[in-house]
């Protein structure tokens, strides 16, 4: 992260006079302190602790197979949360991403049914999602309705529209059809080569890229979060987003087009939710209009962004933190399941864990801002 967020080093300086032996230790502590006071430092530590805990307590947590199991609980939420973080930095929130996530694959399906090729379906579906972002942004920034209300209405309305379009019926995701062929597969067993006819599943290259490949969603998540991180920390877009969320009037006085900045981030957030919707539909090769699932998806993404260190009030946020927030929630869910925790307890424990994680965040945030603030 930029040097701007490094904490003051006053305590280390005061203590440094006490002797050479403590100096080295203090330097190490200083490094730890600096890391912890990065905006995303605390959630990284909390996530690593959770991973360590589950690795020790369960046999299968720290395994490749479990990592693959964990991915769908993590990667899609990382993208949703990072998009949400970009918007929350400007001081707004988008609750409609749950419905956009649902709406996007159905639009994809409709365009495909109309006879358009897969690539065009994808682009058009994402344009629809971007349009939703424009509507959210215009209602918020031009008509002055709070984004909480605007996007709550959009969450309900777009969920309803998805039910209407789909007749509330699940459909198979175009381009994600799994075909099965019988092929001769050669195995080596006890030094003998055996060739047996076996059922082998195939998916199209399109599907492999857009969600069906084992690591497809992970790669999408990492690339998207990296790009958002760079946008937020290294570009004018990022500076103006922070300015819009930190001091809206001041940003306008300085000549920043706050309206454009905020609407742009609404569009970004919506479009990313649309991408995740398509990825997830391709991965599961079917789409079902589950509107209650949509709200839960949204809540998890918003939680991940907030746990990751993005302020609801605006002015501060991090895409990488959002990724770790999503990873933390995924690890928690997966780890508790592996521990054999009764499913009824899962959300209860998740709720408490989120509160604890936030307490740590708030405490570290105080350290970061220096005494007397936060």
């Amino acid at each position: 992260m930029s040097a701007a967020r490094t904490p003051g080093t006053a305590p280390a300086r005061i203590a440094a006079g006490e002797g050479g032996s403590t100096r080295a230790r203090l330097t190490a502590m200083d490094v730890a302190r600096r890391f912890l006071t990065l905006r995303e430092g605390s959630i990284v530590v909390v996530t690593v602790l959770a991973i360590l805990y589950f690795s020790v307590r369960t046999d299968h947590f720290f395994s490749h197979a479990n990592f693959v199991t964990l991915l769908p609980y993590f990667a899609p939420f990382a993208v949703l949360a990072a998009g949400e973080a970009m918007l929350m930095v400007t001081g707004e929130i988008d609750l409609s991403i749950g419905s956009v996530y649902l709406f996007s694959p159905f639009m994809f399906y409709e365009f495909n049914k109309a006879g358009l090729p897969l690539g065009i379906d994808l682009v058009l579906a994402l344009l629809c999602c971007a349009a939703v972002g424009v509507i959210n942004g215009v209602f918020t920034e031009v008509f002055g309705i709070s984004s909480f209300i605007t996007t709550l209405a959009m969450l309900l309305g777009l969920g309803g529209l998805t039910l209407i379009i789909s007749n509330a019926q699940p459909v198979a995701m175009p381009g994600a059809t799994v075909t099965t062929t019988t092929e001769n597969v050669t195995h080596v067993v006890n030094g003998h080569t055996i060739t047996l006819p076996e059922q082998v599943n195939h998916v199209s290259t399109f599907a492999k890229i857009f969600g069906a490949g084992t690591y497809s969603e992970l790669i999408w998540a990492l690339v998207i979060v990296l790009i958002l991180h760079l946008v937020l920390t290294r570009t004018r877009w990022g500076v103006y987003s922070i300015a819009a969320g930190g001091n809206k009037l001041g940003a306008r006085e300085a000549g920043i087009n706050v309206r454009l900045t905020v609407i742009r981030n609404f569009v970004l957030c919506s479009t990313l939710a649309g991408i995740v919707g398509v990825l997830e539909a391709v991965r599961s090769s079917s789409i079902s209009p589950d509107t209650s699932g949509a709200s839960e998806t949204m809540f998890r993404a918003v939680s991940a962004a907030v746990i990751g260190g993005t302020l609801l009030a605006g002015g501060e946020g991090t895409a990488i933190g959002a990724l770790f927030g999503a990873l933390f929630l995924g690890v928690l869910r997966d780890g508790l399941t592996l521990q054999g925790i009764n499913a009824d307890y899962l959300d209860f424990i998740l709720g408490i864990a989120i509160l604890i994680a936030m307490l740590i965040n708030v405490y570290v945030g105080r350290v970061r801002k220096g005494s007397g603030r936060g």
């Binding site: 930029s2 040097a3 701007a4 490094t6 003051g8 760079l230 290294r234 570009t235 004018r236 500076v239 922070i242 300015a243 969320g245 930190g246 001091n247 009037l249 001041g250 940003a251 306008r252 006085e253 300085a254 000549g255 920043i256 002015g315 501060e316 801002k369 220096g370 603030r373």
Partner: protein, 263 residues
């Protein structure tokens, strides 16, 4: 002095906010290289006038002439491109951004071809600018939220003074400052006045400061400019008398109940 020396002329400018009339009919001119002090009671319309000249707000009627040519200031960006920059009363700083990013807010320097922020270059230039002005800000990579009121004010002033602007508007540049920091800003204004490269309109409350730092003083009362005189031809006593008289009238009007009623 000759009309042609005016860099900025404001003619019959009026501005209302709903039922509130901020400016009734303002006529004002600013000469090249001059420092014009603008005095007036709270709510007299000083800040509104500044925001019109800086392009932040549009007047309901009236004309703005820049170097003799009429312009319609469309936005802050537009006014800035014409060489007008403003230090607002609220400073327009972003607490969460570090000092150097605030210094370059909306004037960010970026690399080519990938438009990443040229952070190192902006830090160096910030350091140079702050040193040149003589303001003591130990770290320029900390969020401005951590700085004192005076330091924040100094950054806002430094940001505008180091820009390419040749018409600078200062809306109470000494408001949050202690004596020492205030003296530094007055020094800076004196230096700019001596160089005579830029023209400045400065809003202030302290008559002594105005008489010391400005070439001419304008008083704005009830949305009009009611007093316009070179600082050499007036005194603290005279300015005081005018304002005391204004209070007297306002009190009489309040007592008799038939005075001018501002909505």
């Amino acid at each position: 002095m000759a009309e042609s020396e005016d860099v900025l002329t404001i003619e019959h400018v009026a501005k209302r906010f709903g039922p509130v009339t901020a400016l009734r009919d303002v006529n004002l001119h600013l000469r090249k290289g001059e420092v014009l002090g603008l005095l007036g009671d709270n709510g007299a319309g000083k800040s509104t006038l500044m925001k019109i000249v800086s392009g932040f707000q549009k007047p309901d009627s009236g004309r703005v002439l820049l170097r003799g040519e009429e312009v319609e200031l469309r936005s802050v960006d537009h006014a800035r491109s014409l060489g007008i920059d403003c230090v607002y009363q609220d400073l327009a700083l972003i607490d969460q951004l570090p000092v150097f990013q605030n210094m370059f807010l909306r004037r960010e320097q970026v690399h080519r071809p990938v438009p990443f922020l040229a952070t190192r270059r902006m830090k160096q230039e910030t350091r140079r600018a702050l040193d040149a002005i003589g303001v003591n800000i130990p770290r320029i990579d900390v969020p401005v939220a951590r700085l004192s009121g005076g330091q924040r004010q100094a950054i806002a002033v430094a940001r505008t003074v180091t820009s390419d602007a040749d018409i600078i508007l200062l809306d109470e540049p000494l408001a949050a400052m202690g004596a020492k920091e205030g003296a530094m800003i007055l020094d800076l204004v004196a230096r700019l006045r001596a160089e005579a490269r830029v023209s400045i309109i400065m809003i202030a409350h302290n008559y002594v400061h105005v008489l010391e730092s400005c070439d001419r003083v304008n008083l704005i009362q009830d949305g009009h400019i009611t007093f316009d005189r070179p600082t050499a031809d007036t005194s603290v006593e005279e300015l005081n008398e005018i304002v005391v008289e204004e209070y007297r009238r306002a009190r009489l009007a309040a007592i008799s109940g038939d005075g001018p009623t501002e909505a």
